[in-house]
């Protein structure tokens, strides 16, 4: 039996969209992309100690992780936050859209302000936390650790709003530390002194604008700056030049991570597992279970997960509790198991360090309620300290303490300190 072959010749006509798509093929040769600041960072990277941040080559440290930390606390530290996921949300319904998606009341977020927020799935489990920048009445930027485009787009059904991923198009820098204000002023950003904590404003830069907010992830005086990718290098140079006398230093993530822990801030997929990545159902967390309950605004209208959150609260079904711990001694308890009465396993430490600022051995831990909630006495952590190929096992007393572990007045002081 003969059978015809259904011929559909490979199309030869290539339109512009297809050519652009084909032109992007070669990414497979560069598995870790550089950020818009990469030329400057590469030049400073003495340790060549890289890690993968969302597909980008990001430094653990550049020259000395210990000293980089102190740059945050005593000078001005410059940290590249470009790989952070960014979405631009714009349109007449942008406010209503974000009010439905996120936990906090977005109608209370004025243009030129920023707030820290989180968002949940239908079951009230946290999809991520992040910062929401209100750039104008109808324009927002949402920054987060993980990616959420399908969720945001599906949430936009029925709203007059556009959601666009702009991670690569917008470069970001965190300038943190006591002299950070002075650096910005000296760099010529006139009016930056007016920015109070969580304020946001645009400033002219290199023929365009840079958005500067008084925000950060360090618990210190600090700012975050966002520019179009093509103005990134000129911004970097402008800050570095202005900061010479203020001790400005570029830093890597290890230093930043210490500062954030002192500030008591949590990191998605380090201190909790985000709902779209949790394969094991018991790893899911509600806001109340990771210390974000304060964001839940029951006065505002409907938001994703509201019913589930309310029900769980009402039925007292919350299962976890995220707490700050102070642990005796000075050996960091990272990933240590937490016990009640040295015997019953009640949780896990997700981040820990000896805090140079607080001179305390601090940790963030997730405990099974009622531990950490109503049962806070007689908690212990078992630290496995690897010393010369041997574990030194330590059982240390842990005390539930308030976060942040350090509180620096200069973070919020107005006018900003001019060191």
């Amino acid at each position: 039996m003969a059978q015809a072959i259904r011929k559909k010749p490979v199309s030869k006509s290539v339109n512009a969209a297809v050519s652009a798509r084909i032109a992007a093929q070669d990414h497979f040769r560069t598995l870790r992309l550089g950020t818009p600041f990469q030329p400057r960072i590469d030049a400073l990277a003495k340790t060549q100690d890289w890690y993968n941040w969302a597909g980008c080559r990001a430094p653990h440290s550049l020259w000395d992780e210990e000293l980089e930390y102190f740059a945050i606390r005593s000078q001005a530290a410059l940290f590249d936050i470009s790989p952070m996921t960014k979405y631009r949300i714009e349109g007449p319904d942008a406010e209503a859209f974000l009010d439905r998606v996120t936990l906090r009341d977005v109608t209370k977020l004025k243009p030129g302000r920023v707030h820290y927020t989180a968002w949940c799935d239908d079951e009230g489990f946290v999809l991520d936390d992040g910062t929401l920048f209100r750039l104008s009445p109808k324009r927002f930027r949402l920054c987060s650790q993980e990616r959420h485009l399908p969720w945001l787009l599906d949430s936009a059904i029925g709203f007059d709003v556009t959601v666009e991923e702009e991670t690569e198009a917008v470069a970001g820098l965190a300038l943190q530390g006591p002299t950070s204000f002075a650096v910005l002023r000296d760099a010529g950003f006139a009016g930056v002194e007016k920015l109070k904590i969580f304020d946001l404003a645009d400033f002219p830069h290199d023929g365009g604008t840079v958005g500067i907010s008084r925000t950060g992830f360090t618990g210190d005086l600090g700012y975050e700056l966002f520019v179009p990718a093509d103005k990134a290098l000129s911004l970097w140079d402008r800050l570095m030049k202005a900061g010479v006398l203020r001790g400005i230093r570029a830093i890597g993530y290890t230093a930043l991570n210490r500062a954030r822990l002192e500030a008591g801030l949590i990191v998605a997929n380090a201190d909790f597992t985000t709902a779209e990545h949790a394969i094991r159902a018991d790893r899911l967390r509600m806001p109340d279970e990771i210390g974000l309950g304060f964001m839940i605004d029951l006065e505002k209208g409907h938001f994703n997960g509201r019913r589930a959150i309310l029900e769980t609260r009402a039925k007292r079904k919350l299962r976890h509790m995220l707490v700050g711990l102070e642990i005796e001694g000075n050996i960091p308890a990272e990933h240590a198991i937490v016990y009640h009465k040295k015997s019953q396993e009640v949780g896990l430490v997700s981040a820990a360090m000896w805090s140079p600022m607080a001179k305390r051995n601090i940790a963030i831990a997730s405990l099974a309620r009622p531990y950490g909630d109503t049962m806070v006495e007689d908690l212990w952590v078992e630290i496995y300290a690897m010393r010369e190929l041997q574990y030194q096992k330590l059982m240390k007393r842990a005390k539930v303490v308030a976060r942040p572990f350090i509180k620096l007045d200069r973070r919020t002081a107005n006018p900003p300190a001019d060191f």
């Binding site: 039996m1 003969a2 059978q3 015809a4 072959i5 259904r6 011929k7 559909k8 010749p9 490979v10 199309s11 030869k12 290539v14 297809v18 798509r21 084909i22 992007a24 093929q25 070669d26 990414h27 497979f28 040769r29 598995l31 870790r32 993968n52 969302a54 597909g55 079951e123 993980e146 990616r147 959420h148 485009l149 399908p150 787009l153 991923e165 779209e276 990545h277 949790a278 394969i279 159902a281």
Partner: protein, 539 residues
């Protein structure tokens, strides 16, 4: 006259796995194989000088690591190499690649759709959750839901508990997942046709279903449950071709004292007083055994090797109703040089992975429509690999072996036997598809072997050329596989067992049926199974 402790009919991978476990339990085991070589559908054959062909099965990912370890297969030469990537070529001159690196994978998807690129994690999470639910079932004997025996009740309870352990959303998804088509399932995550086609192929390989057929989402799992050295879902090549798997099994078997007779085709199973007593070879030679295990598919075993009068009517009816329609063929090609694909950068890792040309769900489904009508697909779905890019030992230096798995090819053409002309037409549909994307491809061909379902049945003995020894639809899974009431590797004939892919958990070079059958046989003999690793933990 010697009576073996066990005679295994067929030296395919499951027969050999079964034989190894029985031999290692202290039984005196004989494997009889009709071909002059062992391996069944997992063979490497030198069909033209210098080229080793994985001429049937070509990918090694499902093979259970527990079995590799128990039977010391690495010691006998088995090594698995992971694919480096894969791609679907598109009609507009581009391709969609799969890269091992998570971020490269996302960026590649983002070339087509930013949304789909970011949808992948949720998709992967949901599929992984399903795999984790299914995986532990592979190495267990399915319970008989009609039985009140403690073991069956225990297994049912285990299933129930596992299910009850799922969250409400997981339960709902599990129930939907088992009955959805892969096309519908993918629609809930992705918007781009080529991205859907890229994932859908795992839902149809080896089946007589199209991507729009309900139930194909489950088949996707069947192909995802594989792992290469802990990397779940990874596919890989066996070094030296798929024959390396069965070669290692045969060597392991012999090293533990087992005996293999090749060129020994079984004519029928000797049955006396309702009990299997041995086998009679085609030449008339009788070989006696205390028990007989058939690696052949359930139809071949009970409709050809056992006399009808030995079997209850209801069992025979169910065996006759067992669906085993072949749906695929193979074209194996020796090439004098590496083919070029102008769409693909020369340094692309895709050359060391699997390549496809079906870039839309519609093309995939239409290929299936041809099968339903009793034709080979005019625009077939190909799963094409060039194993020599990762394993140069299979061909002379600079030359290559290419394996093309082709779907769909029906067991019969419009109700009649395949003719040689049909086979040529089938091969041409494959070559012309490749040549469209690889100019000069025809000129590189040194030798070609075309295998239609007819050829696969004739050589390997798989009824209707079905590579899974029976279709993977719900009516033929778990306690329904191969037939209700006999899903525990036993048969109505005492001492006659089944160990092929017709039994739970089904096909693919997995080895689980052979292993599970051995466990049941040893249980009947009240022998220890301490040499059998339990299923690896899923934590």
């Amino acid at each position: 006259m010697k009576a073996w402790d066990a005679i295994i009919i067929g030296g395919g991978h499951n027969g050999l796995v079964n034989a190894c476990y029985l031999q290692r339990a202290g039984l005196d085991v004989l494997v009889v194989e009709k071909n002059d070589w062992v391996g069944g559908a997992a063979t490497s054959r030198e069909l033209t000088p210098g080229f080793l062909y994985s001429n049937c099965s070509y990918v090694c990912s499902l093979f259970r690591p527990e079995i590799m370890r128990d039977l010391e297969l690495p010691r006998f030469g088995l090594q698995v190499i992971s694919y480096e990537g894969g791609a679907v070529f598109t009609r507009d001159g581009d391709y969609l690649a799969n890269y091992r690196d998570h971020d490269a994978h996302r960026r590649e998807f983002a070339r087509f759709s930013k949304r789909d690129a970011e949808a992948y994690d949720r998709y992967a999470r949901d599929v992984t959750r399903q795999c984790r639910f299914i995986q532990p079932l592979l190495m267990r004997t399915a319970p008989d839901p009609t039985s009140l025996r403690p073991r069956d009740l225990g297994e049912l309870l285990y299933l129930g508990k596992k299910f009850a352990g799922l969250s409400a959303q997981e339960m709902a998804l599990t129930l939907r997942f088992w009955t959805m088509s892969i096309s519908e399932f993918l629609d809930e995550y992705f918007e781009t046709d080529v991205i859907k086609a890229n994932f859908a192929l795992s839902g149809i390989i080896g089946t007589a279903l199209g991507p729009m057929s309900p139930g194909t989402a489950y088949v996707l799992l069947h192909h995802y449950m594989g792992e290469v050295d802990g990397s779940v879902g990874a596919w890989g090549y066996a070094r030296g071709g798929m024959g390396a798997v069965t070669k290692a099994l045969a060597a392991s078997f012999k090293a533990s004292g087992g005996t293999i007779r090749t060129g020994a085709e079984v004519d029928h199973v000797l049955v006396g007083r309702g009990k299997a007593k041995g086998v009679v070879l085609a030449g008339g030679e009788e070989i006696y055994g205390k028990l007989v295990v058939s690696n052949a598919d359930v139809k071949r075993t009970f409709l050809k090797l056992v006399e009808e009068k030995e079997l209850p009517d209801i069992f025979l009816r169910r065996v006759r109703n067992f669906k085993i329609r072949g749906s695929s063929g193979k074209v194996n090609i020796a090439l004098d040089s590496l083919p070029e694909f102008p769409a693909l950068p020369k340094d692309s890792p895709v050359y060391r992975g699997d390549m496809h040309f079906t870039d839309s769900m519609e093309r995939m489904e239409r290929a299936y429509d041809d099968w339903k009508a009793g034709r080979w697909s005019a625009d077939p779905f190909l799963d094409m690999v060039i194993p020599t890019t990762l394993d140069p030992t299979m061909a002379p230096p600079g030359k290559h072996f290419m394996s093309c798995f082709v779907q769909y090819a029906p067991p019969r053409i419009a109700g009649a036997e395949w003719t040689d002309a049909d086979r040529d037409g089938f091969a041409e549909s494959v070559i012309s598809q490749i040549a469209e994307y690889s100019p000069g491809f025809r000129d590189r061909i040194v030798h070609m072997e075309v295998r239609t379902p007819r050829d696969i049945e004739a050589e390997v003995g798989l009824t209707e050329g079905n590579i899974f020894q029976g279709e993977l639809t719900f009516d033929q899974l778990l306690f329904n596989r191969p037939v209700p009431g006999y899903a525990q590797y036993r048969s109505p004939v005492g001492g006659l067992y089944m160990c092929g892919s017709s039994t739970h958990p089904g096909g693919g070079v997995m080895g689980a049926p052979g292993r599970n059958a051995a466990a049941e046989i040893l249980r009947d003999l009240a022998k220890s199974t301490s040499h059998m690793s339990p299923a690896h933990d899923v934590i």
